[in-house]
Protein backbone atom coordinates (compact mmCIF):
# COMPACT_ATOMS: atom_id res chain seq x y z
CA UNK A 1 0.00 0.00 0.00
CA UNK A 2 1.14 3.49 -0.81
CA UNK A 3 0.27 5.54 2.26
CA UNK A 4 0.26 9.32 2.67
CA UNK A 5 0.04 10.70 6.22
CA UNK A 6 -0.89 14.40 6.50
CA UNK A 7 0.61 16.09 9.52
CA UNK A 8 0.04 19.56 10.86
CA UNK A 9 2.09 21.67 13.23
CA UNK A 10 0.29 22.91 16.36
CA UNK A 11 1.24 24.68 19.60
CA UNK A 12 2.18 22.39 22.49
CA UNK A 13 -0.91 21.40 24.50
CA UNK A 14 0.14 23.50 27.50
CA UNK A 15 0.58 26.73 25.49
CA UNK A 16 -1.00 29.82 26.94
CA UNK A 17 -3.43 31.12 24.35
CA UNK A 18 -3.06 34.84 23.56
CA UNK A 19 -3.45 37.07 20.53
CA UNK A 20 -1.66 40.09 19.03
CA UNK A 21 -2.26 42.69 16.33
CA UNK A 22 -5.64 43.76 17.67
CA UNK A 23 -6.67 40.15 18.35
CA UNK A 24 -6.23 39.11 14.74
CA UNK A 25 -3.15 36.89 15.15
CA UNK A 26 -2.21 34.04 17.47
CA UNK A 27 0.73 35.13 19.65
CA UNK A 28 3.52 32.80 18.48
CA UNK A 29 6.35 34.22 20.59
CA UNK A 30 7.89 31.52 22.74
CA UNK A 31 5.47 28.85 21.57
CA UNK A 32 6.74 25.25 21.40
CA UNK A 33 5.49 23.55 18.26
CA UNK A 34 4.57 19.89 18.12
CA UNK A 35 3.07 17.48 15.61
CA UNK A 36 -0.71 17.50 16.06
CA UNK A 37 -1.28 14.58 18.49
CA UNK A 38 -4.02 12.93 16.42
CA UNK A 39 -1.75 12.95 13.37
CA UNK A 40 1.27 11.59 15.23
CA UNK A 41 -0.21 9.18 17.76
CA UNK A 42 -2.94 7.68 15.64
CA UNK A 43 -2.53 8.35 11.89
CA UNK A 44 1.25 8.07 11.64
CA UNK A 45 1.71 5.20 14.09
CA UNK A 46 -1.05 3.16 12.43
CA UNK A 47 0.57 3.76 9.03
CA UNK A 48 3.87 2.50 10.46
CA UNK A 49 2.20 -0.60 11.91
CA UNK A 50 0.79 -1.39 8.48
CA UNK A 51 4.21 -0.79 6.93
CA UNK A 52 5.86 -3.12 9.44
CA UNK A 53 3.73 -5.98 8.07
CA UNK A 54 5.57 -5.45 4.77
CA UNK A 55 4.91 -4.12 1.32
CA UNK A 56 3.91 -0.53 2.13
CA UNK A 57 5.52 2.89 1.87
CA UNK A 58 4.75 5.81 4.19
CA UNK A 59 5.16 9.42 3.04
CA UNK A 60 4.54 12.36 5.38
CA UNK A 61 3.02 15.57 4.05
CA UNK A 62 2.76 19.03 5.55
CA UNK A 63 1.48 22.26 4.06
CA UNK A 64 3.49 25.02 5.65
CA UNK A 65 6.46 27.37 5.54
CA UNK A 66 10.14 26.37 5.93
CA UNK A 67 9.88 26.96 9.68
CA UNK A 68 7.82 23.75 9.86
CA UNK A 69 10.76 21.56 8.84
CA UNK A 70 11.77 20.98 12.47
CA UNK A 71 8.38 19.53 13.31
CA UNK A 72 8.37 17.44 10.12
CA UNK A 73 11.71 15.94 11.22
CA UNK A 74 10.18 15.21 14.64
CA UNK A 75 7.52 13.16 12.88
CA UNK A 76 10.13 11.45 10.69
CA UNK A 77 11.93 10.44 13.89
CA UNK A 78 8.90 8.30 14.75
CA UNK A 79 9.01 6.76 11.27
CA UNK A 80 8.16 7.05 7.60
CA UNK A 81 10.21 6.77 4.42
CA UNK A 82 10.22 10.39 3.32
CA UNK A 83 8.39 13.68 3.68
CA UNK A 84 7.00 16.38 1.48
CA UNK A 85 6.37 19.98 2.44
CA UNK A 86 4.13 22.05 0.22
CA UNK A 87 5.61 25.49 0.61
CA UNK A 88 2.73 27.78 1.58
CA UNK A 89 1.16 29.53 4.52
CA UNK A 90 -1.67 27.15 5.58
CA UNK A 91 -4.21 29.99 5.56
CA UNK A 92 -7.43 28.06 5.85
CA UNK A 93 -8.91 24.58 5.46
CA UNK A 94 -9.94 24.70 1.82
CA UNK A 95 -6.61 26.14 0.74
CA UNK A 96 -4.74 23.39 2.62
CA UNK A 97 -7.08 20.67 1.34
CA UNK A 98 -6.62 21.78 -2.26
CA UNK A 99 -2.82 21.61 -1.86
CA UNK A 100 -2.96 18.13 -0.36
CA UNK A 101 -5.41 16.90 -3.00
CA UNK A 102 -3.27 18.23 -5.86
CA UNK A 103 -0.21 16.39 -4.53
CA UNK A 104 -2.07 13.18 -3.65
CA UNK A 105 -3.63 13.06 -7.13
CA UNK A 106 -0.24 13.32 -8.82
CA UNK A 107 1.19 10.45 -6.76
CA UNK A 108 -1.86 8.12 -6.61
CA UNK A 109 -1.81 6.99 -2.99
CA UNK A 110 -3.95 4.06 -1.88
CA UNK A 111 -4.54 5.40 1.61
CA UNK A 112 -4.49 9.06 2.70
CA UNK A 113 -4.46 9.26 6.47
CA UNK A 114 -5.29 12.29 8.62
CA UNK A 115 -5.76 13.09 12.27
CA UNK A 116 -9.40 13.71 13.16
CA UNK A 117 -8.77 17.41 13.80
CA UNK A 118 -6.05 19.90 14.63
CA UNK A 119 -5.96 20.89 18.29
CA UNK A 120 -5.61 24.59 17.45
CA UNK A 121 -8.40 25.15 14.96
CA UNK A 122 -10.45 22.07 15.84
CA UNK A 123 -11.80 22.10 12.33
CA UNK A 124 -12.11 18.46 11.29
CA UNK A 125 -12.49 20.10 7.89
CA UNK A 126 -9.42 19.26 5.79
CA UNK A 127 -9.78 15.44 5.47
CA UNK A 128 -13.35 15.48 4.10
CA UNK A 129 -12.47 18.24 1.68
CA UNK A 130 -9.52 16.23 0.38
CA UNK A 131 -11.76 13.17 -0.05
CA UNK A 132 -14.21 15.15 -2.14
CA UNK A 133 -11.48 16.74 -4.23
CA UNK A 134 -10.06 13.25 -4.89
CA UNK A 135 -13.53 11.84 -5.57
CA UNK A 136 -12.63 9.18 -3.01
CA UNK A 137 -14.54 7.47 -0.21
CA UNK A 138 -14.00 8.89 3.28
CA UNK A 139 -14.14 7.23 6.68
CA UNK A 140 -14.10 9.99 9.27
CA UNK A 141 -13.01 9.76 12.91
CA UNK A 142 -12.03 6.11 12.68
CA UNK A 143 -10.84 4.39 15.86
CA UNK A 144 -9.58 1.25 14.10
CA UNK A 145 -8.14 0.49 10.68
CA UNK A 146 -7.22 -2.87 9.17
CA UNK A 147 -6.09 -3.67 5.66
CA UNK A 148 -8.21 -6.47 4.19
CA UNK A 149 -7.42 -7.72 0.70
CA UNK A 150 -7.23 -4.69 -1.57
CA UNK A 151 -9.46 -2.61 0.72
CA UNK A 152 -9.72 -1.55 4.36
CA UNK A 153 -12.06 -2.10 7.30
CA UNK A 154 -12.50 0.57 9.96
CA UNK A 155 -14.40 1.11 13.15
CA UNK A 156 -16.02 4.46 13.68
CA UNK A 157 -17.79 5.53 16.87
CA UNK A 158 -21.05 7.40 16.17
CA UNK A 159 -24.04 8.51 18.25
CA UNK A 160 -25.75 5.21 17.39
CA UNK A 161 -22.86 2.91 18.28
CA UNK A 162 -19.62 1.80 16.71
CA UNK A 163 -19.91 1.33 12.94
CA UNK A 164 -17.81 -1.32 11.22
CA UNK A 165 -17.22 0.13 7.74
CA UNK A 166 -15.36 -1.34 4.80
CA UNK A 167 -14.09 0.57 1.81
CA UNK A 168 -12.27 0.05 -1.44
CA UNK A 169 -9.07 1.98 -2.10
CA UNK A 170 -8.02 4.67 -2.78
CA UNK A 171 -9.59 5.93 0.42
CA UNK A 172 -9.27 8.85 2.85
CA UNK A 173 -9.40 8.13 6.60
CA UNK A 174 -9.24 10.48 9.59
CA UNK A 175 -7.95 8.89 12.77
CA UNK A 176 -8.87 9.27 16.41
CA UNK A 177 -8.03 7.61 19.70
CA UNK A 178 -8.07 3.85 19.63
CA UNK A 179 -6.37 3.38 16.27
CA UNK A 180 -2.94 2.89 17.84
CA UNK A 181 -0.80 3.78 20.81
CA UNK A 182 1.56 6.76 20.86
CA UNK A 183 5.23 5.93 20.25
CA UNK A 184 8.25 7.73 21.65
CA UNK A 185 11.01 8.34 19.11
CA UNK A 186 14.28 6.56 19.95
CA UNK A 187 17.83 7.73 19.29
CA UNK A 188 18.09 5.67 16.10
CA UNK A 189 14.90 7.22 14.78
CA UNK A 190 16.08 10.72 15.57
CA UNK A 191 19.41 10.11 13.83
CA UNK A 192 17.75 8.50 10.80
CA UNK A 193 15.26 11.39 10.50
CA UNK A 194 18.09 13.82 9.83
CA UNK A 195 18.95 12.20 6.51
CA UNK A 196 15.51 11.12 5.30
CA UNK A 197 14.43 12.96 2.12
CA UNK A 198 12.28 16.06 2.72
CA UNK A 199 11.07 17.33 -0.60
CA UNK A 200 9.72 20.88 -0.96
CA UNK A 201 6.96 21.32 -3.51
CA UNK A 202 5.51 24.61 -4.78
CA UNK A 203 1.91 25.41 -3.93
CA UNK A 204 -0.89 25.49 -6.50
CA UNK A 205 -3.03 28.61 -6.87
CA UNK A 206 -6.27 28.29 -4.89
CA UNK A 207 -8.98 30.75 -3.84
CA UNK A 208 -9.55 31.04 -0.11
CA UNK A 209 -13.13 30.71 1.01
CA UNK A 210 -12.92 31.88 4.63
CA UNK A 211 -10.81 34.25 6.72
CA UNK A 212 -10.44 34.78 10.44
CA UNK A 213 -11.37 38.39 11.18
CA UNK A 214 -10.53 38.24 14.90
CA UNK A 215 -10.09 36.06 17.95
CA UNK A 216 -11.52 36.50 21.42
CA UNK A 217 -11.16 34.77 24.75
CA UNK A 218 -14.14 33.07 26.40
CA UNK A 219 -16.01 35.03 29.04
CA UNK A 220 -14.19 34.81 32.35
CA UNK A 221 -15.66 32.25 34.66
CA UNK A 222 -17.00 33.59 37.95
CA UNK A 223 -15.30 32.27 41.07
CA UNK A 224 -16.15 28.78 42.24
CA UNK A 225 -18.84 28.46 44.89
CA UNK A 226 -17.56 26.13 47.61
CA UNK A 227 -20.09 23.85 49.26
CA UNK A 228 -19.53 22.20 52.62
CA UNK A 229 -18.81 18.47 52.24
CA UNK A 230 -21.44 17.89 54.94
CA UNK A 231 -24.19 19.55 52.96
CA UNK A 232 -24.70 17.72 49.69
CA UNK A 233 -28.42 18.56 49.79
CA UNK A 234 -27.37 22.16 49.30
CA UNK A 235 -25.32 21.26 46.21
CA UNK A 236 -28.27 19.41 44.68
CA UNK A 237 -30.56 22.35 45.51
CA UNK A 238 -28.19 24.78 43.76
CA UNK A 239 -27.91 22.53 40.71
CA UNK A 240 -31.68 22.54 40.49
CA UNK A 241 -32.61 26.09 41.47
CA UNK A 242 -29.56 28.15 40.48
CA UNK A 243 -27.76 26.31 37.69
CA UNK A 244 -31.03 24.74 36.47
CA UNK A 245 -29.21 21.71 35.05
CA UNK A 246 -31.26 19.03 36.82
Amino acid sequence: MKILVCISQVPDTTTKIAFTDGNTKFAEAGVQWIVNPYDEWYALVRALEIQEKGGSTVTLLNVGPAANDAVIRKALAIGGDDAVRIDADPKESYFVAAQIAAYAKSESFDLVLFGKETINYNGAEVPGMVAELLDAPFISQASKLEVEGSGIVCERPTEAGVEVVSSSTPVVVSAQKGMSEARIPNMRGIMAARTKPLKVVAAVAVDTLTEVTSFSLPDAKSAVKLISPDNMDELVRLLHEEAKVI
Binding site: P157, T210, T213
Partner: protein
Protein backbone atom coordinates in the same frame (compact mmCIF):
# COMPACT_ATOMS: atom_id res chain seq x y z
CA UNK B 1 -32.32 31.91 -3.10
CA UNK B 2 -32.83 29.87 0.04
CA UNK B 3 -31.19 28.39 3.10
CA UNK B 4 -31.06 24.59 2.99
CA UNK B 5 -30.92 22.63 6.26
CA UNK B 6 -29.88 18.99 6.22
CA UNK B 7 -31.76 17.11 8.94
CA UNK B 8 -31.59 13.58 10.33
CA UNK B 9 -34.10 11.30 12.00
CA UNK B 10 -33.54 8.16 14.05
CA UNK B 11 -36.10 5.60 15.16
CA UNK B 12 -38.93 7.59 13.63
CA UNK B 13 -38.00 10.80 15.46
CA UNK B 14 -36.32 13.94 14.19
CA UNK B 15 -33.04 14.42 16.07
CA UNK B 16 -33.01 17.28 18.58
CA UNK B 17 -29.84 18.63 16.96
CA UNK B 18 -31.73 18.82 13.66
CA UNK B 19 -34.51 20.85 15.31
CA UNK B 20 -31.77 23.19 16.52
CA UNK B 21 -30.36 23.40 12.99
CA UNK B 22 -33.76 24.21 11.48
CA UNK B 23 -34.36 26.90 14.12
CA UNK B 24 -30.92 28.28 13.31
CA UNK B 25 -31.35 28.02 9.54
CA UNK B 26 -34.71 29.76 9.58
CA UNK B 27 -33.15 32.67 11.47
CA UNK B 28 -30.36 32.86 8.90
CA UNK B 29 -33.02 32.82 6.16
CA UNK B 30 -34.93 35.63 7.88
CA UNK B 31 -31.76 37.71 8.13
CA UNK B 32 -31.12 37.18 4.42
CA UNK B 33 -34.75 37.81 3.49
CA UNK B 34 -35.26 34.35 2.07
CA UNK B 35 -36.89 31.04 2.94
CA UNK B 36 -35.63 28.04 4.89
CA UNK B 37 -35.95 24.64 3.23
CA UNK B 38 -35.36 21.49 5.27
CA UNK B 39 -33.96 18.36 3.64
CA UNK B 40 -34.14 14.81 4.91
CA UNK B 41 -32.62 11.79 3.20
CA UNK B 42 -33.66 9.07 5.61
CA UNK B 43 -36.94 9.90 7.41
CA UNK B 44 -37.69 6.37 8.66
CA UNK B 45 -41.32 7.26 9.39
CA UNK B 46 -40.66 10.54 11.24
CA UNK B 47 -43.31 13.25 10.84
CA UNK B 48 -41.25 15.82 8.95
CA UNK B 49 -44.09 18.35 8.59
CA UNK B 50 -43.18 19.16 12.20
CA UNK B 51 -40.08 20.96 10.91
CA UNK B 52 -42.40 23.77 9.79
CA UNK B 53 -42.94 24.62 13.45
CA UNK B 54 -39.23 25.28 13.75
CA UNK B 55 -39.26 27.64 10.79
CA UNK B 56 -38.92 25.54 7.62
CA UNK B 57 -41.25 26.80 4.91
CA UNK B 58 -40.94 23.54 3.03
CA UNK B 59 -39.51 20.06 3.64
CA UNK B 60 -37.91 18.00 0.88
CA UNK B 61 -37.43 14.27 1.24
CA UNK B 62 -34.78 13.05 -1.18
CA UNK B 63 -35.28 9.53 -2.52
CA UNK B 64 -32.70 7.18 -3.96
CA UNK B 65 -31.87 3.58 -3.09
CA UNK B 66 -28.19 4.41 -2.55
CA UNK B 67 -29.03 6.62 0.46
CA UNK B 68 -29.37 3.49 2.58
CA UNK B 69 -25.55 3.32 2.49
CA UNK B 70 -25.09 6.46 4.65
CA UNK B 71 -21.94 6.94 2.55
CA UNK B 72 -20.58 10.49 2.80
CA UNK B 73 -19.88 10.73 -0.92
CA UNK B 74 -23.45 9.75 -1.79
CA UNK B 75 -24.94 12.08 0.82
CA UNK B 76 -22.80 14.96 -0.39
CA UNK B 77 -23.93 14.45 -3.97
CA UNK B 78 -27.56 14.27 -2.81
CA UNK B 79 -27.39 17.46 -0.73
CA UNK B 80 -25.54 19.30 -3.50
CA UNK B 81 -28.21 18.26 -5.98
CA UNK B 82 -31.01 19.61 -3.78
CA UNK B 83 -28.99 22.73 -2.94
CA UNK B 84 -28.75 23.49 -6.66
CA UNK B 85 -32.45 22.85 -7.25
CA UNK B 86 -33.56 25.24 -4.47
CA UNK B 87 -30.82 27.79 -5.22
CA UNK B 88 -29.34 27.51 -1.72
CA UNK B 89 -26.76 30.17 -0.83
CA UNK B 90 -26.34 28.74 2.68
CA UNK B 91 -26.36 25.06 3.64
CA UNK B 92 -26.66 24.19 7.33
CA UNK B 93 -25.73 20.78 8.76
CA UNK B 94 -25.26 19.51 12.31
CA UNK B 95 -21.69 18.98 13.50
CA UNK B 96 -22.37 15.34 14.49
CA UNK B 97 -20.79 12.20 13.09
CA UNK B 98 -22.64 12.31 9.75
CA UNK B 99 -22.33 16.11 9.50
CA UNK B 100 -18.59 15.98 10.21
CA UNK B 101 -18.17 13.60 7.27
CA UNK B 102 -20.51 15.42 4.90
CA UNK B 103 -20.05 19.17 5.55
CA UNK B 104 -16.36 19.36 4.50
CA UNK B 105 -17.09 17.34 1.36
CA UNK B 106 -19.98 19.63 0.53
CA UNK B 107 -17.76 22.65 1.07
CA UNK B 108 -15.19 21.34 -1.41
CA UNK B 109 -17.82 20.28 -3.91
CA UNK B 110 -19.67 23.61 -3.89
CA UNK B 111 -16.51 25.69 -3.38
CA UNK B 112 -18.42 27.07 -0.42
CA UNK B 113 -16.53 28.27 2.64
CA UNK B 114 -17.18 26.13 5.72
CA UNK B 115 -17.30 26.92 9.42
CA UNK B 116 -17.48 23.57 11.23
CA UNK B 117 -18.75 23.74 14.79
CA UNK B 118 -20.37 27.19 14.50
CA UNK B 119 -21.87 28.49 17.75
CA UNK B 120 -23.47 31.79 16.66
CA UNK B 121 -25.79 33.15 14.02
CA UNK B 122 -23.94 34.94 11.21
CA UNK B 123 -23.31 38.61 11.81
CA UNK B 124 -24.29 40.01 8.43
CA UNK B 125 -23.39 43.57 9.41
CA UNK B 126 -19.70 42.75 8.87
CA UNK B 127 -19.95 40.32 5.97
CA UNK B 128 -21.05 36.83 6.89
CA UNK B 129 -19.28 36.38 10.21
CA UNK B 130 -19.67 33.22 12.25
CA UNK B 131 -18.01 32.27 15.54
CA UNK B 132 -16.60 28.91 16.57
CA UNK B 133 -14.49 27.63 19.43
CA UNK B 134 -10.81 27.09 18.74
CA UNK B 135 -7.79 26.00 20.80
CA UNK B 136 -10.01 23.39 22.46
CA UNK B 137 -12.38 25.98 23.87
CA UNK B 138 -9.60 28.23 25.16
CA UNK B 139 -10.54 30.87 22.56
CA UNK B 140 -13.09 31.77 19.93
CA UNK B 141 -12.42 32.65 16.31
CA UNK B 142 -14.67 34.85 14.23
CA UNK B 143 -14.71 33.78 10.60
CA UNK B 144 -15.91 35.59 7.53
CA UNK B 145 -17.11 33.24 4.83
CA UNK B 146 -16.19 35.06 1.65
CA UNK B 147 -17.45 32.62 -1.01
CA UNK B 148 -20.85 33.10 -2.67
CA UNK B 149 -22.23 29.86 -1.21
CA UNK B 150 -21.63 29.04 2.45
CA UNK B 151 -21.72 25.89 4.56
CA UNK B 152 -22.28 26.01 8.32
CA UNK B 153 -21.98 22.91 10.47
CA UNK B 154 -23.76 23.85 13.68
CA UNK B 155 -22.44 22.75 17.07
CA UNK B 156 -25.09 20.68 18.89
CA UNK B 157 -26.59 22.50 21.90
CA UNK B 158 -25.42 25.94 20.65
CA UNK B 159 -29.01 27.10 20.09
CA UNK B 160 -32.28 25.90 21.55
CA UNK B 161 -35.04 24.61 19.26
CA UNK B 162 -37.93 27.10 18.99
CA UNK B 163 -41.30 25.88 17.78
CA UNK B 164 -43.47 28.91 16.93
CA UNK B 165 -44.64 28.15 13.41
CA UNK B 166 -47.05 25.70 11.86
CA UNK B 167 -46.57 22.43 10.01
CA UNK B 168 -44.90 22.58 6.60
CA UNK B 169 -45.66 20.69 3.41
CA UNK B 170 -43.45 17.70 2.71
CA UNK B 171 -42.40 17.00 -0.86
CA UNK B 172 -40.74 13.81 -2.06
CA UNK B 173 -38.12 14.23 -4.76
CA UNK B 174 -36.34 11.48 -6.69
CA UNK B 175 -32.64 12.24 -6.83
CA UNK B 176 -30.12 11.23 -9.49
CA UNK B 177 -27.05 11.37 -7.22
CA UNK B 178 -24.81 9.89 -9.92
CA UNK B 179 -22.16 8.36 -7.65
CA UNK B 180 -22.29 4.98 -5.97
CA UNK B 181 -21.20 4.18 -2.44
CA UNK B 182 -17.68 2.83 -2.08
CA UNK B 183 -18.09 2.22 1.65
CA UNK B 184 -20.29 -0.43 3.26
CA UNK B 185 -21.46 -0.37 6.87
CA UNK B 186 -21.12 -4.02 7.80
CA UNK B 187 -22.35 -3.76 11.35
CA UNK B 188 -23.20 -1.26 14.08
CA UNK B 189 -22.05 -2.43 17.48
CA UNK B 190 -24.43 -0.77 19.87
CA UNK B 191 -23.39 0.20 23.32
CA UNK B 192 -25.44 -1.68 25.92
CA UNK B 193 -28.83 0.01 25.88
CA UNK B 194 -28.89 1.06 29.52
CA UNK B 195 -25.76 3.18 29.02
CA UNK B 196 -25.96 6.74 27.74
CA UNK B 197 -23.53 7.55 24.90
CA UNK B 198 -20.94 10.03 26.15
CA UNK B 199 -20.83 12.52 23.25
CA UNK B 200 -24.62 12.95 23.45
CA UNK B 201 -25.01 12.95 27.23
CA UNK B 202 -26.47 16.01 28.94
CA UNK B 203 -25.22 14.85 32.34
CA UNK B 204 -21.78 13.35 32.90
CA UNK B 205 -20.08 11.95 36.00
CA UNK B 206 -16.33 11.63 35.53
CA UNK B 207 -13.49 10.42 37.73
CA UNK B 208 -9.71 10.41 37.71
CA UNK B 209 -6.66 8.99 39.35
CA UNK B 210 -7.92 10.18 42.73
CA UNK B 211 -10.14 7.07 42.77
CA UNK B 212 -6.99 5.00 43.44
CA UNK B 213 -8.09 1.92 41.51
CA UNK B 214 -10.78 0.40 39.27
CA UNK B 215 -12.29 -1.48 42.21
CA UNK B 216 -13.47 1.86 43.62
CA UNK B 217 -15.60 2.89 40.63
CA UNK B 218 -18.76 1.48 42.26
CA UNK B 219 -19.52 4.78 44.01
CA UNK B 220 -18.96 6.70 40.76
CA UNK B 221 -21.36 4.42 38.89
CA UNK B 222 -23.93 4.60 41.68
CA UNK B 223 -23.90 8.38 41.44
CA UNK B 224 -24.13 8.28 37.64
CA UNK B 225 -27.07 5.88 37.79
CA UNK B 226 -28.99 8.01 40.25
CA UNK B 227 -28.30 11.21 38.29
CA UNK B 228 -29.02 9.45 34.98
CA UNK B 229 -25.58 10.43 33.73
CA UNK B 230 -23.01 8.93 31.40
CA UNK B 231 -19.61 8.05 32.90
CA UNK B 232 -16.28 9.48 31.78
CA UNK B 233 -12.67 9.51 33.00
CA UNK B 234 -9.33 11.27 32.70
CA UNK B 235 -6.71 10.02 30.29
CA UNK B 236 -4.31 8.24 32.68
CA UNK B 237 -7.24 6.25 34.03
CA UNK B 238 -8.01 4.95 30.53
CA UNK B 239 -4.31 4.45 29.77
CA UNK B 240 -3.70 2.25 32.82
CA UNK B 241 -6.81 0.29 31.91
CA UNK B 242 -8.98 1.17 34.91
CA UNK B 243 -11.68 2.31 32.53
CA UNK B 244 -12.48 1.68 28.84
CA UNK B 245 -10.79 4.00 26.32
CA UNK B 246 -14.04 5.44 24.99
CA UNK B 247 -14.63 7.10 28.38
CA UNK B 248 -11.47 9.22 28.10
CA UNK B 249 -12.40 12.90 27.80
CA UNK B 250 -10.09 15.80 27.05
CA UNK B 251 -7.99 17.25 24.33
CA UNK B 252 -6.95 13.86 22.97
CA UNK B 253 -10.09 11.97 23.95
CA UNK B 254 -13.75 12.80 23.54
CA UNK B 255 -14.71 16.48 23.71
CA UNK B 256 -18.03 16.96 25.46
CA UNK B 257 -20.32 19.86 26.33
CA UNK B 258 -22.98 18.51 28.67
CA UNK B 259 -25.23 20.60 30.90
CA UNK B 260 -23.61 19.15 34.00
CA UNK B 261 -20.11 17.73 34.42
CA UNK B 262 -19.20 16.30 37.82
CA UNK B 263 -15.42 15.72 38.13
CA UNK B 264 -14.26 13.47 40.95
CA UNK B 265 -10.58 13.12 41.88
CA UNK B 266 -9.42 14.82 38.68
CA UNK B 267 -6.73 17.49 39.03
CA UNK B 268 -7.92 19.57 36.07
CA UNK B 269 -4.84 19.56 33.82
CA UNK B 270 -5.09 21.89 30.86
CA UNK B 271 -5.46 18.96 28.43
CA UNK B 272 -8.34 17.57 30.46
CA UNK B 273 -10.07 20.94 30.67
CA UNK B 274 -9.77 21.35 26.90
CA UNK B 275 -12.32 18.59 26.41
CA UNK B 276 -14.79 19.58 29.11
CA UNK B 277 -14.55 23.36 29.56
CA UNK B 278 -17.60 23.95 27.42
CA UNK B 279 -19.87 22.14 29.86
CA UNK B 280 -22.61 24.44 31.12
CA UNK B 281 -22.07 23.70 34.81
CA UNK B 282 -19.00 22.06 36.34
CA UNK B 283 -18.89 20.50 39.81
CA UNK B 284 -15.47 19.53 41.16
CA UNK B 285 -14.87 17.16 44.06
CA UNK B 286 -11.22 17.06 45.11
CA UNK B 287 -9.39 16.71 48.41
CA UNK B 288 -6.75 19.25 47.36
CA UNK B 289 -8.07 22.83 47.66
CA UNK B 290 -5.26 23.91 45.31
CA UNK B 291 -6.34 21.57 42.50
CA UNK B 292 -6.41 23.64 39.28
CA UNK B 293 -9.83 22.27 38.41
CA UNK B 294 -11.45 24.53 41.03
CA UNK B 295 -10.56 27.53 38.86
CA UNK B 296 -12.74 26.15 36.08
CA UNK B 297 -15.55 24.99 38.36
CA UNK B 298 -18.92 26.53 39.16
CA UNK B 299 -19.35 24.50 42.35
CA UNK B 300 -16.62 22.88 44.36
CA UNK B 301 -16.46 20.47 47.26
CA UNK B 302 -13.12 20.13 49.01
CA UNK B 303 -12.79 16.74 50.66
CA UNK B 304 -12.37 13.01 50.29
CA UNK B 305 -14.31 11.60 47.37
CA UNK B 306 -14.82 8.31 49.19
CA UNK B 307 -16.95 10.14 51.76
CA UNK B 308 -18.50 12.83 49.60
CA UNK B 309 -19.65 10.86 46.56
CA UNK B 310 -21.93 8.46 48.49
CA UNK B 311 -23.41 11.48 50.32
CA UNK B 312 -24.05 13.24 47.03
CA UNK B 313 -25.71 10.10 45.69
CA UNK B 314 -28.02 10.05 48.72
CA UNK B 315 -28.84 13.73 48.24
CA UNK B 316 -29.72 13.11 44.58
CA UNK B 317 -31.92 10.15 45.61
CA UNK B 318 -33.79 12.39 48.03
CA UNK B 319 -34.18 15.07 45.36
CA UNK B 320 -35.42 12.56 42.78
CA UNK B 321 -37.96 11.17 45.23
CA UNK B 322 -39.42 14.66 45.73
CA UNK B 323 -39.52 15.68 42.05
Amino acid sequence: MSVLIFTEAVNGKIKKSSLEAVTYGSKVAAALGTQAVALNLNPGGADLSELGKYGASKVIVGKNASLASFDSQVYTAAIAEVAASVGATVVVTVNDSLGKAVAPRLSARLKAGLVAGATTLPNTAIGFNVTKNVFSGKAKAHYNIVSAVKVISLMPNAVQPEANGSAASVEEVNLNIGVSAKTVIKEVKRASTDKIALPEAELVVSAGRGMKGPENWGIVEDLANVVGAATACSRPVADIGWRPHHEHVGQTGVAIRPNLYIAIGISGAIQHLAGVNQSKTIVVINKDPEAPFFKAADYGVVGDAFEIVPRLTEAFKKYKAGH
